[in-house]
Chain length 437, copies 2
Amino acid sequence: MRLSRYFLPVMKESPADAQIVSHKLMLRAGLIRQTAAGIYAWLPLGHRVLRKIEQIVREEQDRAGAVELLMPTLQSADLWRQSGRYDAYGPEMLRIKDRHEREMLFGPTNEEMITALFRDGARSYRDLPRTLYHIQWKFRDEVRPRFGVMRGREFLMKDAYSFDLDEAGARHSYNRMFVAYLRTYARLGLRAIPMQADTGPIGGDLSHEFIVLAPTGESEVFYHSNWEQDRALEVDADDAAALQSFVSSLTADYAATDEKRDEAREVVAGDALKQSRGIEVGHIFYFGTKYSAAMGLKVQGPDGAEVTPQMGSYGIGVSRLMGAIIEASHDDRGIIWPEAVAPYKVGLINMRVDDAACTAACDELYMKLTTAGVETLYDDRDERGGAKFATMDLVGLPWQIVIGPKGLANGVIELKNRATGEKTEIGADEALARMRA
Amino acid sequence: MRLSRYFLPVMKESPADAQIVSHKLMLRAGLIRQTAAGIYAWLPLGHRVLRKIEQIVREEQDRAGAVELLMPTLQSADLWRQSGRYDAYGPEMLRIKDRHEREMLFGPTNEEMITALFRDGARSYRDLPRTLYHIQWKFRDEVRPRFGVMRGREFLMKDAYSFDLDEAGARHSYNRMFVAYLRTYARLGLRAIPMQADTGPIGGDLSHEFIVLAPTGESEVFYHSNWEQDRALEVDADDAAALQSFVSSLTADYAATDEKRDEAREVVAGDALKQSRGIEVGHIFYFGTKYSAAMGLKVQGPDGAEVTPQMGSYGIGVSRLMGAIIEASHDDRGIIWPEAVAPYKVGLINMRVDDAACTAACDELYMKLTTAGVETLYDDRDERGGAKFATMDLVGLPWQIVIGPKGLANGVIELKNRATGEKTEIGADEALARMRA
């Protein structure tokens, strides 16, 4: 993409109302703009990152055998009355009346709707087990939205729902998602620690939050230092016993949020006990028949008798993850995107737009990079070099290629690694080859 | 995808409340379910088609040089007060109050928000021309939602907005979109006719609707029979004069909706004048400075003087297109998907799940097809052959491969073309080769 034809309104100064670094950088780097309290527009660069995060989340859901569909944003109040949650849910639920005065709401989550859809479509034990998911905008009317997309009101969430014939099956589905979540975070360049959690308004018996450590996090968390190491996530998820034993081996290392601390286990951890703040980036629940029973979901079991399926739900805040990634990966010059979610892999800087040879060399390399499928943001604007460097560092693409008349005279261009700052002078063909790799 | 692990609740009978064929077939084939009046959940198969349509729309927008971003669904009433439309817009606007009693709305369109974002981010003539677009859920509170996704309340729309320095530039941007729309419909297997249209609540001077002919359409339309032929859409869209002349040559053939009939031109058309009903699948507008002036969007012109940009907006109903495609492509057994938007390219039917050799042959071909990247829906369920045939015809994948013990004994399987009904007996490897092509 040529910057001369793009829309990337970067800001030199940190906006006064942004308190945490990810919020500041998302505004400064032209990723988002607030359009109302806690509601954001995703500018072109931010939109690209959002789609990449979403795609990684999707691929790991698919890999776990979950099936994608898409439920609408607005729901009828009557649906929520079937579970009893319409009145129980607090003021975070945005209640709406349509032109016929029918009561509706902007979905904060979808347990009721998916249960109704599955009740309509599933008949027998052969329709189970199933895990269904969607990636859709949700709304929670936070009393005090803050920290940008980390605690916004309209946010993109992946929510999955599992249906099983019995508790053992439900626990297997839960464990599948447990591992799928860890895989997802690892691909996003994040180390997330699963912690036993309260079930809150979702309800249920078993629940884990996934927490990324960050000094700006909202939760106080306590964990065994083993969690600071990378974990191998190879396990046969179709083998229920092997999967359970794998999950148990992980959770054998202590980790808990403030509300769920266990003094006895902390004593055992001893010096290995660590304390930090953390950002919640996922939450999974097993809640048995809470919704299926309330809403009359039944299927015919193998023996002909009716069975009320066991359910769980599994949420990842897709838009919030962008903030968490930036909290975990930035320096004082800007964002440092992990390659998997970078909006473009490489930023190409033309140092002298008014120099015909320099522009020809840039145009040629840009053409070759894009033809080779290397996502490239090409700064072809008539601006000072210093401003271009600052912009590229701010938006944080993994690689920068700088082409100027002096280097060209010597047959070289500069390749810079954004994370390490390392610069190499190489030929254009060599740069192309490295970027393709 | 194995049907034994999928969620495809097909219906044998036509639902009583569905009046038009696309609505009936979308319900019967398990593409959608209504969750509230005029609001639909997209079940897994329907969701796949929606994403394919969306991707074709996106690719043609990108090809036209438009830049994608994403605006939120909820907007503040104050934003709409800046243009004066908050009070002017009728009861189709869903008005909402949040927990702090702030007035908001579920966006039916985004002229105000994009103008505000561009005002915030654009400084000079060098930031123009730009066309920005997003693909996002909209809400219009229809008094009587009907025809399924054709006139729903929550719907997916691609809306683009152009910003130009002068009227000539704006007309060029308009013409670019004009051609991008025709390309989009052609790729979707639809022939859409552009017709001069009223501008309605968007306002402005110039407007075209794109109409697909269908007996169930809501509009009465009149057109020259030349529109029944395919048009070559090759033109250099960067050449403003060539593009204008191309668009003029197209619109030289008469086409008008009921409200915009031109008796003189109809007389000229003579016997070539045709009458039909049609479905609106797109609407484009040039409205000059209506929003930019009202909302104070100005940029510095090349001579230093301030310029108020000229704007246009361009909408395609992405979810509605699915209904239009089905209206145009079905028979009495079900949907016939054009390959470009088919949820899967091929349906693989195992005639005898209880026959080990038959199942082994099916499993092997399924593995080879998916490894080769051929999107395959594999009916591996323990059902009668007749039910499987009916389901495959109903869901309308372009190709069916039927594997049964009798054919296997002779070394052949059956390949069926859904559109023509033509059946061929060939070897499994030959079928694989044809599907890969």
